[in-house]
């Protein structure tokens, strides 16, 4: 007779989270009784199994009763599987002989019928018990961690992460799509709440990153392909051709001075200003090398001009330069690709794009910036008239069922900042139209009070329309902002010279494609998904890929910096450990049963299955195998087994869930 396992069943109350719906006492008594034939020798229920006392209960039983298997019925394995596995390990039982089944997220939290929920808990535990019998003692796989790191995105989050890792003595590739690092922060004028000049606090970090011996700066570059897995990613990066020989360029600027072709700068100047066909996005760009915009450069269009080449004192122009493809090995990746502003043209009733003096927040930042298209003067579209009344519209594209339901976190502070700058620079009257004033972080509320003291008019109401249809005397030549002041209950027509739309933050337009490239998930909106929304905001479910900054969701600069640093710290920890333990969920081919049909070879997306021509059998490379199990299901001979999710385990779990493992069949629902 086969030796029966000795199984301990532990049912957690989780306070009242489980016990409030599921009758935990009844369930554990049932397990002890009905699952005895399966091998259950002890069944306990306890208030908080994950507590040290709860864990000690398990450990005591393992040692004293010689348990060979453990089943814990509590919360989701995504939360505490490791906890209970470690507890077993501590008592000398292989951690993979412990199974955690969820009777909380899958049962007590989602059902109201207590009787049905209790029955379901019994079924879930029964499934877990039948399954765990077939578990094997496994050892995690250890893979080496390459000490280099890839940071994608050269905004403030990416720069921070790169500097932290580089300062710790490890090498970083910092890849940025634009010709310079700096991101959106480089476009701003002042930052709230301190009203520090944005460029002044950013450029030192940019320079550090540009000069750091441990950072390889790859600007005007993009990641094209990512292969491999944590610890050993092979990344293909395309360094686009700048048309400038970096070794020879001194950044003197003669080329863009002499270039005759003016182009509207839709990226850095948000369409408000011009640049040349050969350009640096802004004077403090890092690196200092310009870029030739091949779409607009006369040479590439007509074959003439070449003024830059003529005047370059160091002969650094190279029209024939080609893109360079490089392959790098890295151990970990941080994605810090930032956000795109909401396209305000979508809200047609606000008139952006149709009414001249309606500006977006990014356009206004450029107006304010001393290095911007108007030299820092806040003027209307005609380029000279200063506004006398300015309206600032909050929540454009945010908190709106028609566009984005979420709050973009920074627009209230940004709107207050604008109100202050307008007042300071033009003395104009300012109206802020808001739904709520969200000033939650440090010194933010005080900033709001400062604005109140400055005499800013705050009107609580979501702007209905901005129009040029004037009607009443005094409105001539103005834009009319139509809004309901919900605090007084009046409809208002507010005539303004300039309207500023505080546009919300949206994920980058290509975020879904980028997520797929790196093998991580995006939410439906397009923000990258963190491993746990509360407790693990910078890791993803893909080992080795981390996220930082607005790519994870709208946030301000301090939060982006914190996330960049956090991701860097996690990676430094992994690098220090030199290797990482991977879950031993893998597939193995039983040579004896393999007929060499090779169906599995084609089914594997990671090319982890090799075929041995000499022996006519397939073999799984355990390092490349990710444990999805598709080959296990595909093998017609059943020659591939999946550790952790074998056929025996799953089939037994099905039996258990349907109570087929109990000698006298229980009435299955009805």
């Amino acid at each position: 007779m086969e030796k029966k396992e000795k199984i301990g069943v532990y049912v957690c109350h989780c306070g009242t989270n489980i016990a409030g719906v599921v009758n935990v006492g009844e369930v554990s008594a049932w397990a002890a009784d009905k699952l005895k034939d399966q091998g259950v020798v002890i069944a306990r229920d306890y208030k908080f199994m994950c507590s040290s006392l709860g864990q000690e209960l398990i450990q005591k039983d393992i040692k004293e009763m010689g348990l060979t298997r453990v089943v814990v019925a509590a919360c989701s394995p995504h939360l505490h599987e490791k906890t209970f596995r470690n507890a077993s390990k501590g008592a000398g039982l292989n951690p993979y002989l412990t199974e955690l089944v969820s009777i909380r997220e899958q049962d007590s939290w989602v059902h109201t019928d207590k009787v049905a929920a209790t029955e379901k808990a019994k079924a879930i535990i029964s499934g877990g018990v039948s399954r765990v019998i077939h578990h094997e003692a496994l050892e995690p796989l250890h893979v080496p961690i390459h000490p280099d790191t890839l940071v994608v995105g050269g905004g403030i989050a990416g720069i921070q992460a790169a500097l932290e890792i580089a300062d710790a003595g490890f090498h970083v590739y910092l890849v940025e799509r634009e010709p310079t690092i700096g991101g959106h922060m480089a476009q701003f004028d002042k930052t709230f709440p301190t009203l520090d000049c944005s460029a002044c606090i950013l450029t030192p970090k940019m320079v550090d990153a540009g000069n750091h011996p441990n950072i390889t700066l790859l600007t005007y570059s993009e990641v094209e392909k990512v292969d491999g897995y944590v610890g050993s990613f092979t990344v293909t990066i395309r360094k686009r051709a700048r048309g400038i020989k970096e070794a020879d360029c001194t950044g003197c600027g003669i080329c863009w001075e002499k270039c005759p072709k003016k182009v509207v700068d839709n990226v850095f100047e948000a369409g408000m200003g011009n640049r040349k066909a050969v350009y640096v996005p802004f004077p403090q760009a890092v690196p200092k090398y310009p870029v030739i915009d091949r779409i607009n450069c006369t040479y590439y269009i007509k074959g003439t001009c070449k003024a830059c080449e003529k005047f370059c004192p160091t002969n650094a122009i190279d029209f024939a330069q080609e893109d360079e493809i490089m392959n790098v090995q890295v151990g970990n990746v941080i994605l810090a690709t930032g956000y795109d502003p909401f396209d305000s043209r979508r809200i047609t009733q606000y008139g952006y794009g149709r009414l001249a003096n309606v500006f977006t927040s990014l356009e206004f930042e450029r107006l304010c910036n001393a290095a911007g298209p108007t030299g820092g003067n806040i003027v209307l579209r005609d380029g000279k008239t200063a506004p006398q009344v300015v309206g600032i519209v909050h929540c454009v594209g945010s908190r709106d069922k028609n566009y984005n339901e979420y709050c973009s976190a920074i627009c209230c502070m940004q709107s207050l900042k604008f109100a202050h700058l307008v007042r300071e620079r033009t003395g104009a009257e300012v109206y802020n139209f808001y739904i709520d004033i969200r000033t939650a972080a440090k010194s933010y509320e005080e900033f709001y009070h400062r604005l109140l003291d400055e005499g800013t008019h705050f009107i609580r109401g979501k702007v209905a329309e901005i129009s040029d249809a004037v009607r009443l005397p005094g409105e001539e030549g103005k834009l009319i902002i139509q809004v309901e002041d919900t605090l007084t209950g009046n409809q208002l027509r507010v005539p303004v010279d300039m309207a500023i739309l505080s546009a919300g933050l949206e994920p980058r337009r290509d975020s879904k494609a980028v997520a797929k490239l790196f093998g991580i998930s995006c939410s439906a909106d397009g923000w990258f998904i963190e491993r746990h929304p509360k407790l693990d905001p910078v890791a993803t479910v893909t080992e080795g890929i981390y996220i930082a900054g607005c790519v994870q969701g709208p946030k301000d600069i301090p939060a982006s910096v914190a996330q960049g640093a956090a991701a860097a710290a996690r990676i430094l920890g992994k690098i220090q450990q030199k290797e990482v333990a991977l879950e031993p969920v893998r597939a193995t081919v039983n040579e004896a049963q393999c007929s060499g049909c090779r169906i599995c070879n084609n089914v594997c997306p990671f090319n982890a299955i090799l075929f041995h021509e000499d022996k006519m059998v397939s073999e799984v490379n355990p390092a490349l195998c990710q444990g999805c199990g598709t080959c296990v299901a595909a093998c017609p001979a059943g020659a591939i087994s999946g550790t952790g999710f074998s056929n025996e385990q799953i089939l037994s779990q099905i039996d258990g869930l349907l109570f087929l493992n109990i000698p006298k069949k229980e009435a299955v629902a009805a």
Partner: protein
Amino acid sequence: MTVTPEPKPFEPVMIGFTCNWCSYRAADMAGTARMKYAPNVRLIRLMCSGRLDPTFVFKAFAGGADGVLVSGCHPGDCHYINQNYKALRRFHLMQRVLTQMGIEPGRLKLLWASAAEGAIFAREITKFVEEVRALGPLNWNANIGHPTADHELSSVVEGQPSTKEVTA
């Protein structure tokens, strides 16, 4: 006037296969958000929907399940790149086989749910439970039983012309 007690509605027993990365997390999310759904579906966690061997589905039906749910990541979002397409192919195959066995194909459902779609997961489960409830109990042992039994086999063959042998 005699009062006849309301007959208790038939409660289908259902098994659901979820993938570790998306649909299981969707179920978790439904739990964390305390969304309520019908308690009839008992979930099994696989690493990937591509792991789903059709044997599992038939085992579930043969074991007493009235309905089976297969769920995974949305096409294009599979954590293992494109294994959910394998699940999709197997799903269509299984539906064909079920139909040929005389089982309503509506007892097997395919649901794509991303980790953020807890609400959709909950809603779809409740909907599926009602659909299976309307189909009634499967009663595998009574209706399908052991197809190697001659009389049952012949009844299956007579009822399903598609199973008749095709002459060479």
